[in-house]
Point group: C2
Chain length 470, copies 2
């Protein structure tokens, strides 16, 4: 059925909409441009209109009206995702949830809130309320929303202690609205959470979240420099295995990335320095300094609570996770990245192998995280991009070595994940989005069930590029 | 030199002393009688006098006066240790620190306190102050002191998350008084902590502690029953490896120990039920119940926040750690125990092997703990005691299989530990206790440097038994 965009837009006139074409274009885009592959494929995509509901009732109305008029709805928070999660593949309606930013309840160990609140504001609220903060956040903490993080993220700062969002206990409850003739409101807990978390809003819209909290501390942010990359990686692995030293972040950046890309750190290091970024609980600093003292090859060059740097580097976590790539891109636009899983117990050997094979074309950027109880590493490797073919070859080299890739140069859930259908998400999409209007084109198993993943999926119904349309 | 007990006692007349012979005897004894071997060796030991200082100044005075008169000083908190840590081997002065129980400061993540405060009272203070509690405690939480725990313990409830007391970061600072002509007051942090923590008060007396805190939650206490022991052990191991589910305790008790020894649990289980005891953070209960739902062979028979048990079992942690042995002893006085280290990654195979070889003579009691970042198990195996020779043989069987034993049938630091001198503790004793008067007989390397550990150490200067003295 053809969408009747004009009718839907008119029927939603009482809900806040953006009319300025520049605003509409800006609010149609996320951080897909980290990937030259996605940039080429998605740069032309744009919503027909943008709505900004203020309540669950308004979300329900948007979904009801768009369902009636067969208009696709792509939902987003701040649009800081890098997989093109929030790009409207067939135009239609882009729904922003930034106005739904209320904190409803805070209790010891948990918070109930709306999806559109910034991670930063949620943390500020919980800290002020009772000295608490969320267990983990993306490096886009200052600009991203909790709903976008849950729908489009997988982990981040805090994962070195708490594991990933998909781990049991890291999301308590999600309240979700379906896209049907009469949208339903459902509450998901336990096994049901996997239906809609990290589903890019393809099968329901999150209108309320209940998340676990951890104590908020005045984390001491630290940079340590070491000359040997593998020694730095082993240092970080061993530190993260110290059960009595509470960390929130432990990142490793292979030389010369810190010197070349971290402009405020550059005056304090040399080109051959591998850098380690850390967040350490203040009451763990004695333990950390003791650990550090056992490693004479490690130099602490910065600590946020005591330093003589004329210019602050800003939050150390804004050098980690996907901010690393962002900083590199600002200096060298040809840089892109990969997301790699270096699982325990082969993680150190695998990292060394990939580095031996690919450095400096691929520079290692590692984040220590817990996976099934064991410290291992997520790699967000910096890749000097040449061609799509070479990028695919680099991906293949990782996979052949046993390093799982979550390919950030693909816009579907499956290709950015484990290259196979998630039956729970697909089954729930059948229930919750019978017309397939929610964030279309992002779930291969919905559109093309027999896709074999041998090459990049191309959504057939995607809005064609202007030149192709001529 | 002969001790001049009477002179010392008289010189300390202005400090509180116990005069009642029954009190003196009671205050001379710890829980050494868990071990039939120690019971035979130590039952006759008794202090000549007992002092109860109220301040660090009084501690200094006790140590100065006893030094001058060559009187041994054995220091204790509540005397709940099981290794005979606090038994006065040569009589003399027993110094109780229960009057030194002040909390001095509480900050986010840490507390500064005196050694004599009960673990229970310290937790109550910190929870009331700011919703915090200590990271770990012994199962004798209700009766033991923080100073005794640090000087004589190694870990406990909370170690499933935070590891052991010896791990960097689990003690921040200790203030220590030496026993010299003029006692010195020293502050130890970092590497220096290892000199005096878990040293049984053999080389200095702790007068102030700075300890890390964790958030205090209303932990949900749980019993789960399973028919298969190894399935229960794997369940507990997998649960403790769930990074998003916050636990404080995860214990496994092989059948029929729960049925035979846990009288309040008995009506709810059968003789062939292996029992799992858990403490789960309330905001992790959804995650836990999801995990539980994946194990249809696991029955949750009790949760403290919702149950229909006519009679409460009391705190679930009072079934774990060394309370297990205590409960077994009350029913069967022939029971004793071992402390075993089942290290990662062989822990499950090793447990199965020892059980196959020794059950039911030795019943498995396991506590999940983190060791160097990995979940593994401490075994506090219940042993049906027959002879000392058989007990030694059981110890040998464990060691030959690769399961390290911390032998609780020995009263020296070395034999209860890793069977070798701790050079840091010995070196500091040379500085801090030049006359060797602090808790004499507990450090083999001080008294008998060339001891070969082939058999039980017998302190030559120990007060002889009355019959032997006749």
């Amino acid at each position: 059925m053809q969408p009747n965009v004009a009718a839907a837009k008119a029927a939603l006139a009482h809900i806040e909409q953006d009319e300025n074409p520049a605003t509409i274009r800006a609010k149609s885009r996320d951080f897909f441009w980290y990937s030259p592959v996605l940039k080429e494929a998605m740069d032309h995509l744009e919503a027909d209109f943008v709505v900004n509901p203020k309540s669950e009732a308004e979300v329900i109305e948007v979904l009801r009206v768009c369902y009636a008029h067969d208009v696709p709805v792509t939902t987003r928070g701040a649009g800081t995702g890098n997989y093109g999660q929030a790009m409207p593949m067939r135009g239609g309606c882009v729904m922003h949830l930034r106005h739904m930013a209320a904190v409803k309840e805070v209790h010891p160990g948990r918070v109930i809130c709306e999806p559109g609140i910034l991670l930063k504001d949620l943390d500020a609220y919980c800290k002020e309320h009772s000295g608490q903060e969320i267990r983990m956040f993306s490096s886009t903490w200052a600009t991203a929303t909790i709903g976008g993080f849950i729908a489009g993220g997988s982990g981040g700062v805090g994962s070195v202690h708490w594991g990933s969002l998909r781990d049991l206990g890291n999301i308590i409850r999600l309240r979700v609205v379906t896209m049907e003739a009469e949208p339903r409101v459902l509450e998901f807990r336990g096994e049901e959470l996997a239906r809609v978390s990290h589903a890019y809003g393809t099968n329901g819209i999150i209108t309320e979240l209940e998340m676990p909290l951890a104590p908020a501390y005045d984390w001491v942010e630290i940079f340590v420099a070491m000359k040997d990359f593998m020694a730095a990686t082993r240092f970080t692995d061993a530190l993260a295995n110290q059960d009595g030293i509470l960390l929130k972040l432990a990142s490793v950046y292979e030389a010369p990335a810190p010197y070349d890309y971290f402009t405020r750190v550059k005056p304090h290091i040399e080109a051959d320095d591998t850098l380690i970024g850390l967040m350490v609980a203040p009451h763990s600093m004695d333990g950390f300094l003791t650990f550090l003292g056992r490693h004479p090859d490690a130099r602490m060059i910065y600590r946020s609570d005591a330093n003589d740097w004329p210019r602050t580097p800003g939050p150390v976590f804004e050098y980690g996770w996907n901010h690393t790539t962002l900083r590199a891109l600002k200096v060298d636009p040809s840089i892109t990245y990969l997301q790699v899983r270096y699982g325990f117990p082969e993680h150190l050997a695998l990292i060394e192998k990939m580095r031996d094979a690919l450095s400096p074309e691929v520079l290692q950027h590692l984040e220590a995280i817990r996976m099934e109880g064991k410290i291992a590493f997520a790699g967000l490797s910096l890749v000097k991009f040449t061609t799509k073919e070479r990028l695919d070859e680099i991906v293949r080299m990782h996979e052949e070595a046993g390093a799982l890739i979550f390919n950030p140069h693909r816009y579907t859930l499956e290709e950015g994940g484990r290259q196979s259908a998630d039956q729970r998400q697909l089954d729930f999409k059948r229930e919750a989005d019978p017309k397939g209007l929610l964030n279309p084109g992002k779930m291969v198993s919905w559109d093309t069930p027999d896709f074999d993943y041998s090459e990049m999926y191309r959504y057939p119904a995607m809005t064609p590029k202007p030149e192709a349309a001529e």
